[in-house]
């Protein structure tokens, strides 16, 4: 295989971006998913649709809105300048923000399913045993929903690794800061460096397959009636 130092740098940056994004997404998606799974509120459907929006919006739409919003005159840009962070476009944290939005449904939906599948019963039993709500959440709900958490984490991570359009729109292609694997492959193809593109694309293909294989295996373990889990 034919990986240059820049390719390796792009791989490292991609893994870093995906890890940070996954951690933030789990922290953010858990309360959202819990609320979606339990609320009787009329806002449930609109909020669920909103969190699913990145599934259907073209990444170029997300990227374009982000670019405008992150700019010095956009709402996010005005806020980040106010608190002294400058503007986030062309920075690692700008990509993190984009990735969190882009992969949000992949974290929220498995968690909602896991919380719903649990039913109200375990939490009710915990309450009768005088466990506080927080206590019950961490000692009862989290272990029961563990397959949902694992799936949310794997999907968020894999989806962020495969992210392209948003990064392309707000990244600026800066080595070691915003040049990830997908944009590096794109650069190779555009520059007609097909053999380098092949090397890196091969890495991506194998990685994605292994993740899906792992997910399928986890799913089957969680629900043995299924033949194929994905």
């Amino acid at each position: 295989m034919n990986l240059s130092a820049q390719d390796v740098q792009a791989i490292a940056l991609t893994l870093q971006l995906a890890s940070v994004t996954t951690v933030l997404l789990l922290l953010l998606a858990t309360p959202v998913a819990w609320w979606l799974a339990h609320t009787p509120s009329a806002w449930r459907v609109p909020v669920a649709s909103l969190t699913a929006l990145p599934l259907v919006l073209p990444p170029t739409v997300l990227g374009f809105y982000l670019l405008v919003a992150l700019g010095p005159n956009g709402p996010i840009g005005q806020f980040t300048q106010l608190v002294g962070w400058g503007t986030l476009a062309f920075s690692f944290w700008g990509l993190v923000l984009g990735s969190v939005i882009y992969s949000l449904p992949f974290a929220v939906q498995p968690l909602v399913h896991a919380f719903e599948a649990m039913g109200p019963r375990p939490m009710e039993v915990a309450a009768t045993l005088r466990a506080s709500k927080w206590d019950a959440f961490f000692t009862v709900a989290v272990p029961l929903a563990k397959p949902g958490f694992v799936m949310a984490a794997m999907l968020s991570f894999a989806h962020t690794v495969g992210e392209f359009g948003v990064v392309l729109m707000i990244g600026g292609n800066i080595p070691d800061k915003t040049r990830v694997v997908s944009t590096q492959i794109y650069g190779h193809v555009e520059a007609m460096e097909y053999s380098q593109a092949h090397g890196l694309a091969g890495v991506m293909l194998v990685f994605s397959f292994v993740v899906l294989l792992g997910l399928s295996w986890l799913n089957r373990r969680a629900d043995p009636r299924k033949k194929v889990g994905v």
Partner: protein, 243 residues
């Protein structure tokens, strides 16, 4: 009546269609040229816009484009050498001009001195590896001896279109863009700009070539001829291309 019927039935056969792949920086003038071309010749140009490198990959893999209007002169030459374009049909249809541009009305002076000032923290260029305008921008930066001072401020767009976007949304205060993107009839349409002297970079020659699928297509031949005619040249000048 017979004459009318024959125009009706056979007129359509005379007016053809030509699928043409057009470099993104040439979007605006090409739309005008395509309109004028259809009015004057009856032929219809089906325009696909994109990056020249992507078109190269598509053409190599059998894309049915009859004509390529590239952003450089290397890709058409390469296609001809690889036997994918008709030999002897290449010519320079436009020469691109580079401009340093800002959305702020007073930031860019008419000598580009702002590049030596601390009044910006992001300078957008097109990826020098992918886009001729990016390579030209790097050349200017080198010639002015600014490499050390601006290298940490550089952000790259994948095409000159995206570079324009970065500056237009003010995520970058300054950027090297195509003059054709920011000027009309010799005037800068918004913000401030320095039209970089052509002595500071290798001319951005944009070449056209007839591709193999267009070999026997009269509309393709007509389009190539039309691009060298007065109407097309007038449109090019309005958009700030050198001839």
């Amino acid at each position: 009546m017979l004459a009318f019927a024959s125009t009706l039935f056979f007129g359509g056969a005379k007016a053809g269609e030509v699928a043409v792949a057009v470099a993104a920086n040439f979007t605006a003038p090409m739309q005008q040229i395509a309109k004028a071309f259809e009015q004057d010749t009856g032929h219809k140009a089906l325009v696909a816009l994109g990056a020249t490198g992507k078109f190269y990959a598509q053409i190599k893999n059998g894309a049915p484009f009859a004509v390529l209007l590239a952003a450089d002169d290397e890709t058409p030459a390469r296609l001809e050498k690889e036997g994918l374009a008709v030999a002897g049909t290449r010519f320079t249809y436009a020469t691109g001009r580079l401009a340093l541009w800002s959305k702020s009305p007073n930031l860019v002076d008419d000598k580009g001195e702002v590049l030596r000032s601390p009044r910006f923290d992001k300078l957008a260029i097109a990826d020098p590896k992918l886009a001729p305008y990016g390579a030209a921008a790097m050349e200017v930066i080198h010639r002015l001896g600014l490499q050390a001072s601006v290298s940490s401020k550089l952000v790259q767009g994948e095409s000159i279109g995206q570079t324009y976007q970065f500056v237009s949304t003010e995520n970058a205060q300054l950027g090297f863009v195509a003059l054709s993107q920011i000027s009309m009839d010799g005037r800068i349409t918004q913000g401030s700009a320095w039209v970089v002297p052509q002595s500071l970079y290798t001319p951005i020659n944009q070449d056209a070539v007839l591709l193999n699928p267009g070999k026997d297509n009269p509309a393709a031949h007509a389009l190539l001829k039309y691009l060298q005619g007065d109407t097309a040249k007038a449109i090019l000048t309005r958009y700030g291309y050198a001839l």
